[in-house]
């Protein structure tokens, strides 16, 4: 990973998950709302597992 800042979008989505998770935990939201955090987490996982730097190859 020569240029980690290229992956800033990954960090920003992780930031959304962490911030919303922290707020949800802080105000004790029901579990039905907490499970929504799994949706962006799925894409974070796919980004790590299957993402390729197509933009750099153009």
């Amino acid at each position: 990973m020569r240029d980690p800042l290229r992956h800033l979008p990954f960090a920003l989505v992780a930031f959304i998950v962490l911030l919303m998770g922290f707020v949800d935990w802080g105000v004790r939201v029901p579990a039905s709302a907490l499970v929504t955090l799994l949706a962006p987490m799925l894409w974070l996982g796919l980004y790590v597992l299957f993402g390729a730097d197509h933009a750099a190859s153009e």
Binding site: P9, V13, V27, A52, A55
Partner: protein, 193 residues
């Protein structure tokens, strides 16, 4: 309640995404994307708040006119994050990229919508079917559609032979049309949902 959280989130995402777009795409790309997306949001929300009024924002949210001032930054940022994630999975800009943007934007927006429903950042005026503790069932589709409609216009403008400044003006000029297209899409969704 705690509306500053979503406004802080909007601002932080905007700064990060704008910087990333300016560095890894181009400064012109960043201007066209974020100016176009903000105007799109501003026009759409002004119409929604003044005329349609299917939902209202919490009184504490900072506004310019009828539309929220800082929440507009969230739209362009979520679209940009969806675009960058989709670019990791498909090599060419085609229908598959748009479909991925739809799914990714809807996924990123879902926890924000869930927290918004719990903390009453924005409230539905009309009874609607909800999921995940109060999220209107059409909300993720609204976000996904917003991203795809914006990207469809942006891609056409970006691929045109206009100079960079002309592309920026084109995005500014087309933003009411994008907002109108999205309002029609939301209207069609609300008839179903």
């Amino acid at each position: 309640m705690f509306t500053f959280i979503v406004e802080f989130l909007s601002l932080a995402l905007f700064i990060g995404c704008m910087w990333h777009a300016a560095r890894y795409e181009s400064r012109a790309f960043a201007q066209q994307w974020f100016v176009g997306a903000y105007l799109y949001f501003f026009i759409r929300e002004t119409i929604m708040q003044v005329w349609v009024q299917t939902y209202i924002y919490a009184p504490a949210i900072v506004r310019v006119g009828a539309a929220p001032l800082l929440l507009g930054l969230l739209w362009g940022s979520v679209f940009y994050l969806a675009y960058q994630f989709a670019r990791r999975f498909v090599a060419v800009r085609n229908l598959m990229l748009a479909a991925l943007m739809f799914a990714i934007a809807a996924s990123i927006a879902l926890p924000i919508e869930a927290t918004a429903a719990q903390l009453h950042w924005w409230l539905n005026q009309e009874p609607t079917r909800t999921v995940f503790g109060g999220v209107p069932i059409i909300a993720p589709l609204v976000w996904g559609g917003a991203a795809v409609i914006f990207y469809a216009v942006f891609a056409k403008v970006h691929a045109s032979r206009l100079p960079d400044r002309g592309k920026l003006y084109a995005m500014v000029t087309l933003s009411p049309a994008i907002a109108a297209a999205h309002l029609l899409y939301v209207l069609a969704l609300s008839l179903i949902g």
